[in-house]
Amino acid sequence: MTEKVKLKWNGKDIEAVKGSNLLQAALDNGQEVAHYCYHAGLSIAGVCRMCMVEQDGVPRPFPACNATCGEGMVVRNDTPKIKAAVENTLQFHLLNHPLDCPVCDQAGECGLQDYYMKHGQYDSQMIDKKVHKEKVQDIGKNVMLDAERCILCSRCTRFTEEVTKTFELGILNRGDHAEITVNEELKNDYAQNLVDICPVGALTSKDFRFKQRVWFLEEVYTTCIGCETGCSVKVSQNKNGAYRVKPVFDETVNGHWMCDDGRQIYKHVSSPTRLQVASENMNGLFVPADELNIKEAVKGKKAKFILSTSLTNQEYERFFHEVGSKAEVALYTLPKLGADFDGILKRGDKNANLRGAEHAFKKAGKDSTPAALDKLLNSIGSSDVVYVVVPEILYNEDHFNTLLTKIEKASMRIALTPGETLSSMKVFNYLLPVPSFLEKEGDIVNFSGDIRKLNAGLSYGETTKDISYYGNWVNV
């Protein structure tokens, strides 16, 4: 397959693919190399001058990001010369950088802070007037720009040129007056990635802005349920709630990026209006109810289930095993939204685990098509109990509401929801909380048939009682 070469990095033997990027090879082998402008998902700019290395037999130091791995290379970045160079270059980076750390959201995960601890010149000789640029600019799509904090690594401009090809950002002027500038405003659906790739606090997310300091957060690595792509993501959270979603590099699915819609999937999880306990409809107002009463009310009745497409394979399997084999079951699929595929990551099919659901239905000998759903809806009688599993992410509420109007015939209407109580849910007699995607372990199957893992993080609502638990109530 690919040819491997051996090279020496700071005296340590490392192995890399021949002709691959030297800096990436070093990083992959766990070596520490300071860098700002290099990003594996973007072209090489070579402007931050932090990843300088010395190679035996090459007279001048050169940036590792612009070099390729060759057999027998002997490279060092721990020589006094390189250390001094990195120290000096970092000093230049910090020269006109404002002392904003206390108010900067990037603090704690900032490239400048990290490298300053290692390569900083602790005595500042800068007593001159700094170059001031415009702060706190809202450049659209939930992105805030602080031009002063920018170190002009050009990652963001390369992102809009190479990944989204929308050309909204540019670097105007030259010299130390050079400044990131937006043409009108950001328009692409991947703008939040700019916040991720910005190594400093120049681009910050308006959504996350000032909500938490990053050192209070811990991350749970899971999969985005925003559409059928199933990008690898991490959700930053602490006991007070979930705060943001960021992409995790995954070669097979999403590479380095994720779309802006996917960034919103955490919102219902720690929302203050999320349904916490079983509730009963009292003239349009939901009040906490005793589970036992509900159980009594549904016991032994003929049940009809409408499942959502955002459950895990394991949940489907358990449901069909314990409950579904005897009951009538149909699948509510979310309507298409936008183009089938936008060419980068986003897909119009918003059903996170449609493949998994279809598979489970087939295995249980049930029909998962919309026609079956219509059939079930038409057959609802006044003595039936209808369980509706509310989809986790509802892009089109109206479409879901239409479904709800069709179940009114049933005497007992129960919603199983992992999220907030919507106004349209007044149609239900009871609301029962189920775990959200962030509170359960399991697999989902994405558009290409790949199994993607959901991992549980901290919990903000129901964690154990899933659809099978409530479904079992009808079986005595």
């Binding site: 270059t89 980076h93 020269l95 000789q125 001159d128 030259r174 010299g175 130390d176």
Partner: protein, 429 residues
């Protein structure tokens, strides 16, 4: 007009300059112009390349890299799409030789480019001339039109089955576009920011295709070399610095201007013989020997240095573009430093951090006297900062800013100390 061989052999580049109206193709051809081009089409391209290599011609733009060797790196595939670029973005402070050459005799450059294009097998060429040289660009446009009319440019030149199109491309006022990859970026319609090397332009240049970039003076020397032979060219100059060179001389001399002398001519001779001595008979104080990027020579060094690549380098400076700025005893080195630092601050392209921030900081440290914050140790800080900028960037602009600063600190430290400690009218001190 009779050909005066002796006169031609005294000069290579300025050999036609005494002829009135030589910018006109008719006059130029009567004097023997384009003859060599016609002959060259009968020669093997490799022979021309070898001859240029043998002549020891070195790039006249500033770096002094042997032109023949550079040509050797170029793609040998004659059918592949390639470009020849002439660097006429003469922006190094103190330099005006290319302007002079183009103004007086644009055809010698065009002839040189056609021969080079034949040797290198390029199908298209551009003369990148700086935006300020509007009239010079017009002169070139007119000359090109004449050459096209004669069939020396265009498709199937002189029936040899060789195509070469040549155009003038005007810059728009950015020093950095004189750097070859910066020029290529600029030609591509982008900001003139230098590109990472490798790959070098000879492999991947303009539009990702092999591109050869040569200075005006280098290309204009080619016809002469082909006419009289490499051996004849080598008779001038020193062993490693062959041939003649144009020097742009300005400052405190009686006759500033462009002169052509063999490399290795002493600076003393240049000042006293070619430039008519110092203005008002003042004593010489310092000389910038190769454009503002070159470290200055003090009085003593100036009188012993020979103007060739090696000797100037041995004395701690560089020949660069051959721009000699002469300062007499009435001048203050502090002013020179201030102007130089301001220039590089203004011209840094803003790509690499050490240069973008460093050039600005050098200027503000040097100007601390304006805010009353200066101290003598600032000179050490300047020296240290300049040193830390060197060799850290994509192109040589950071070095070009750091070298003269370090040079002036080395040679004129006490004067600079006195300068930065002198309060200005805006200072509080």
């Amino acid at each position: 007009m009779e050909k005066d061989t002796a006169n031609y052999k005294d000069f290579s580049l300025l050999s036609y300059h005494h002829i009135p109206g030589v910018h006109n193709i008719e006059v130029f051809e009567r004097a023997g112009g384009y003859e060599m081009m016609k002959k060259c089409f009968g020669m093997e391209p490799d022979f021309i390349k070898e001859e240029v290599k043998a002549s020891g011609l070195r790039g006249r733009g500033g770096a002094g890299f042997p032109t023949g060797v550079k040509w050797g790196f170029f793609s040998k595939d004659r059918s592949a799409q390639k470009y020849l670029l002439c660097n006429a973005d003469e922006s190094e402070p103190g330099t005006f030789k290319d302007r002079y050459l183009v103004e007086k005799n644009p055809h010698i450059l065009i002839e040189g480019m056609i021969i080079s294009a034949w040797a290198l097998g390029t199908q298209k060429g551009y003369i990148y001339i700086r935006g300020e040289f509007y009239q010079q660009a017009m002169i070139l446009e007119k000359a090109l039109k004449e050459a096209y009319a004669k069939g020396y440019l265009g498709k199937n030149i002189l029936g040899k089955g060789f195509d070469f199109d040549l155009y003038v491309h005007r810059g728009a006022g950015a020093y950095i576009c004189g750097e070859e990859t910066g020029m290529i970026s600029s030609l591509e319609g982008k900001k003139g920011q230098p590109k990472l090397k490798p790959p070098f332009p000879a492999i991947k240049g303009y539009r990702g295709l092999p591109t050869m970039v040569n200075n005006v003076e280098s290309l204009a020397a080619v016809p002469w070399i082909m006419r009289f032979g490499a051996a004849e060219y080598k008779k001038w100059g020193t062993e490693k610095s062959a041939g003649t060179k144009l020097f742009s001389i300005s400052g405190d001399v009686n006759k500033p201007g462009v002169i052509e002398v063999p490399l290795g001519t002493s600076l003393k001779e240049i000042i006293e013989v070619h430039c008519g001595g110092m203005r008002n008979g003042n004593k010489l104080k310092a000389v910038v020997p190769g454009g503002s990027s070159a470290p200055v020579f003090n009085h003593d060094e100036s009188y012993v240095v020979k103007m060739d690549y090696e000797d100037v380098a041995a004395k701690g400076s560089m020949l660069g573009s051959g721009a000699i700025i002469i300062l007499d005893e009435t001048r203050n080195i502090g002013d020179l430093m201030k102007w130089t630092l301001e220039f590089y601050h203004h011209e840094s392209c803003g790509q690499c951090t050490p240069c973008r921030e460093g050039t600005g900081w050098l200027e503000s440290v040097f100007k601390r006297r304006d805010s009353g914050k200066a101290s003598k140790s600032d000179i050490d800080l300047l020296d240290k900062t300049a040193a830390s900028m060197r060799g850290q960037t994509i192109c040589a602009l950071a070095d070009a800013a750091a070298m003269p600063a370090q040079g002036m600190i080395k040679s004129f430290r006490s004067e600079l100390e006195a300068y930065i400690m002198t309060p200005t009218h805006t200072g509080k001190r």
